[in-house]
């Protein structure tokens, strides 16, 4: 970026001004210098689109970093997530009391003895933490993958004890392995008390098998519905899984294998004979399932759908699946292919509600505790951990396209700062630029939100129409910014 002397002086004045303004923002973001003091780089449209898939909506500093080091290096930086300092996000989460507790402790926190169970506190903290991480963590690709696996291994938090067990599942299954190996992820999920509770496996006993988890393990977690298993395979795998349960008393909420409930007969799954070996039987089947070519194809398809296009081309799916098989499901290696080779296959995707609220909030440097935003997600139909069926929230554009009104409501509520404990930093951002008039402001904001400024004609129509409707300059800027967030273009990423 070249700067004229005059611009340079303006910018210098601005950096000082914005530092002063930032003191109003929460302490941790001030000391870690997260608030942008520079203008936003313009990216080529493909890079901007990809950045909005790797993140929950490109912040100024993220787009500047990508412009600086290029997409490939940016992806490597994000994949090496443990090296990314996440101090400000961790600091914000340090007030949460339940995130690091084990099941027994969480049960204790929820159990109000004579008043029954508090089924709200633990899930609400988990929801709020998820939103805060998505908003403020610098490990954005990691958080995107956490979200992906949360859908893939979906658990409805209201089922039975899942209201506190999910916190453990989120930490020990999803977050622990989100960028690790797929094998470890499935293995951990299969031993996860929340999953076994959600899909009724704690009721799967030799005298009366329950095939719910066995079916979803093959249909939704590994092979996919057309992955080549039969009803007989489901029933046989259910037999292998008899006795996989959850402790009810000492070490409550921990995984337990109940030998006495296990069907000790010989089983046959996917053509392989499984000799009686207790808990090992289902573990052996899991080894088979994660190595199965159908699994590679199924996971490749879902990843390409999440990152690239609703109906990804077979070409890229096969390439990703091949890497999946070659690396035994090493998630980082697989993602490299999805994100780098996949760049050529990018198609617009309609934002899921979470992508919509998060991208608006991230791009405008919103400061929030997440509570009010969660309320909006509820109205849009994507409250976290609240999807009842095990297939998780849909990743198809079409699912989300019929319901504009809640998005419009969010856009206007956000810009008018009408959500509790939630404030945007629009003025702060504009101050960085030293724009001179409404037109320049709108160009800057549309480039921030959409990647490039909107057409001049539309911009002028917007100014005319809101001015005719009685808006003064401040109101016009607000209303137009809100309408850009509400606009068709911003619904896509």
């Amino acid at each position: 970026m070249t700067l004229s002397r005059r611009d340079f002086l303006k910018l210098g004045a601005l950096i000082t001004a914005s530092t002063a303004l930032a003191s109003c923002a929460p302490f941790y973001r001030k000391i870690t210098g997260d608030l942008p003091a520079t203008a936003w780089a313009s990216l080529n449209p493909l890079d901007f689109m990809m950045l909005n898939r790797i993140t929950f909506g490109a912040r100024v500093e993220e787009r500047n970093r990508l412009a600086e080091i290029g997409l490939q290096n940016y992806i490597e930086e994000q994949l090496d997530f443990e090296s990314i300092d996440d101090f400000s996000c961790d600091l914000q989460l340090s007030s949460f009391k339940t995130l690091d507790k084990d099941a027994n402790e969480l049960e204790g926190i929820s159990n109000q003895l004579f008043d029954g169970y508090d089924r709200e506190t633990v899930p609400n903290e988990l929801r709020q933490a998820k939103l805060i991480r998505q908003l403020y963590s610098k490990r954005q690709l990691y958080e995107v993958m956490v979200d992906f696996w949360s859908d893939h291994f979906n658990i409805f938090i209201e089922k039975g004890e899942c209201f506190y067990l999910k916190t453990v599942d989120d930490r020990e299954v999803i977050r622990k392995h989100a960028l690790g190996s797929f094998h470890d992820l499935v293995f951990a999920s299969a031993h996860s008390p929340a999953m076994l509770t959600y899909l009724d496996n704690q009721a799967n006993e030799k005298s009366h098998p329950n095939e719910n988890y066995a079916r979803e393990l093959m249909e939704l977690h590994t092979l996919g519905v057309d992955g080549g298993y039969s009803q007989q395979d489901v029933m046989e795998l259910a037999r292998c899984l008899t006795g996989w349960s959850v402790k009810k008393h000492f070490w409550l909420g921990e995984f337990v294998f109940r030998e006495e409930q296990h069907d000790s007969g010989i089983k046959k799954v996917l053509g392989h004979t499984i000799q009686p070996e207790g808990q090992k039987e289902a573990e052996r089947v899991i080894e088979m399932l994660v190595k199965h070519p159908s699994t590679a194809k199924f996971i490749a398809t879902k990843l390409c759908r999440r990152f690239l296009a609703d109906n990804p081309s077979q070409e890229i799916i096969e390439k990703v699946a091949k890497t999946f098989l070659q690396t035994d499901g090493d998630i980082k290696s697989v993602l490299r292919v999805v994100l780098l080779d996949g760049l050529a296959y990018l198609q617009p995707k309609y934002k899921r509600p979470s992508n919509f609220v998060l991208s608006a909030s991230r791009m405008l440097n919103v400061e929030t505790d997440g509570v009010a935003i969660n309320q909006h997600l509820l109205r849009m139909g994507q409250q976290y951990f609240k999807f009842p069926t095990p297939d998780g929230y849909s990743d198809h554009s079409q699912t989300w396209q019929g319901n504009l009104m809640p998005r419009w409501q969010f856009a206007f509520d956000l810009i008018r700062n009408e959500m509790e404990n939630t404030k945007h930093n629009l003025q702060n951002l504009l101050n960085v630029l030293l724009t001179e008039n409404l037109e320049e402001d709108i160009d800057a904001i549309s480039s921030l939100l959409l990647g490039s400024p909107i057409e001049r004609l539309i911009r002028d129509q917007l100014i005319d129409s809101v001015t005719s409707a009685g808006a003064n300059a401040d109101e016009a800027l607000q209303v137009i910014t809100a309408s850009l967030i509400a606009s068709p273009a911003f619904q896509w990423r």
């Binding site: 009724d200 009721a203 006993e205 005298s207 009366h208 098998p209 329950n210 095939e211 719910n212 079916r215 249909e219 939704l220 519905v225 057309d226 009803q231 489901v234 029933m235 109205r379 849009m380 139909g381 009842p388 069926t389 297939d391 079409q398 699912t399 989300w400 396209q401 019929g402 319901n403 504009l404 009104m405 809640p406 419009w408 409501q409 206007f412 509520d413 008018r416 009408e418 539309i458 129509q461 917007l462 129409s465 809101v466 005719s468 409707a469 009685g470 808006a471 109101e475 016009a476 209303v479 137009i480 809100a482 309408s483 850009l484 509400a486 606009s487 068709p488 273009a489």
Partner: protein, 398 residues
């Protein structure tokens, strides 16, 4: 932008724009209720004349209507000497007696995946297998029947997103709640927002529709909806009430799609009380309220209920039921051959069931829907709506 709509002091509610000028090609308003999760229909419409039913369901079975060992209110309510309604379905007995409720048992799709997601998708698309159009059967119905109706509320999916069955070339709306449907702020702010939205959505049909719906619904409020009938205070009850409001307001509604979820009862589903009986109560109470509320409209109204498949005939060890096959449909309206359980009953004995012990399907769900389309919705394009399928008319409707 805030044009006021003409107020005609006709009934409790103004007659609004969008009432189609020419209603000739239009048939009934159709309400489609999808019971998601595979409802256990054997406990909804109980084959109490079948001994095998009681052998397969020692704990979950619903007692025979004449079983004197069981309290009367816990027995099935006899329909025809062989089938009976679950006691919580009793509110539907008036519609049954008035011959406005038809039941089609052992009804469903050929798909035997026993996967919720695959079965729902195929059923909502109205296709035999993955091949075939990606749009939904209702979407294709709307696309093949030109009713000259441009109302954004021509087809409404009650809920946060439109059902798959509605997808297609005709735009449809998702509507969670009529009162939710407005932007806050005072009149001045509202005018500015509308002006800006009108610009950014100038080329976008869905956005323009949403603006129109905003105008239309500004005048409707479920809280002040005056009806002698009270609907259950549930999400499903509200969806039916709002459908009733939209029909009475003559806003051009042709199809309303409504979901009632929670039927995937693998665990402790309950026989007379509990999880699944509560769902039946919600279903029956809400449908009965709708039926009573809409009596004056019954001749232009057809309601159908469906579910992706049925559940295993035998109960499992967790006092629940696993995924099965044959299901059941109900058709409610002024022009059904009601008071009758239609369809051939395949039986629950060994050798009569299919797969791991599941009710067989003797009536394809597309037969029932095709008959509704043909006889009640003036749409004979069933070969486009259900491609590669030759429907058989089952005489469920007049």
């Amino acid at each position: 932008m805030l044009h006021t709509l003409p107020m005609i002091n006709k009934t409790w509610m103004p007659r609004l724009a969008f009432a189609p000028q020419n209603t000739a090609p239009r048939g009934d308003t159709l309400m489609v209720v999808f019971l998601r999760g595979a409802a256990d229909v054997l406990n909804m419409v109980v084959p109490h004349g079948e001994d095998a039913y009681y052998q397969l369901r020692p704990s979950l079975g619903i007692a025979r209507p004449d079983d004197s060992r069981t309290k009367k209110e816990e027995r099935a309510v006899d329909l025809d000497g062989f089938f009976g309604l679950h006691p919580n379905m009793y509110p539907l007995i008036d519609a049954w007696s008035d011959e406005q409720l038809a039941i089609i048992h052992a009804c469903g799709a050929p798909d035997e995946s026993r996967s919720h997601f695959k079965a729902m998708e195929l059923m909502e698309r109205g296709v035999e297998d993955e091949r075939g159009p990606a749009s939904g059967w209702i979407g294709r119905h709307l696309a093949t029947l030109n009713t000259g109706n441009s109302s954004p509320l021509r087809a409404v999916g009650m809920g946060t997103s439109p059902q798959r069955s509605l997808s297609g070339s005709v735009p449809v709306s998702a509507l969670r709640s009529i009162v939710d449907f407005h932007l806050g702020g005072d009149q001045g702010a509202l005018a500015q927002m509308r002006a800006a939205l009108n610009i950014v959505y100038q080329d976008d049909v869905m956005g323009q529709d949403t603006l129109s719906i905003m105008d239309t619904l500004e005048k409707l409020d479920p809280l002040t909806y005056q009806s002698k009938i009270s609907y259950p205070d549930t999400e499903f009850g509200l969806a039916l009430k709002q459908t009733a409001m939209l029909i009475k307001a003559e806003v051009g509604l042709e199809v309303s799609a409504i979901d009632l979820g929670g039927w995937d009862t693998h665990f402790a589903q309950g026989s007379v009380n509990g999880l699944m009986p509560n769902l039946m109560k919600d279903l029956a109470d809400s449908l009965a309220a709708f039926h009573a509320d809409m009596q004056d409209h019954m001749n232009q109204l057809t309601t159908v209920t469906m579910s992706e498949f049925g559940r295993r005939a035998s109960e499992n060890g967790s006092l629940g039921t696993d995924h099965g096959h044959g299901s059941m449909m109900m058709v409610l309206g002024g022009n059904v051959n009601g008071g009758k359980v239609h369809g051939e009953w395949p039986g629950l004995e060994d050798g009569q069931m299919i797969g791991p012990g599941d009710l067989a399907v003797t009536t394809d769900y597309r037969d029932v829907l095709s008959e509704i389309l043909n006889k009640r919705l003036n749409n004979s394009a069933t070969n486009e709506i259900f491609p590669e399928y030759q429907p058989v008319m089952r005489n469920v409707l007049k």
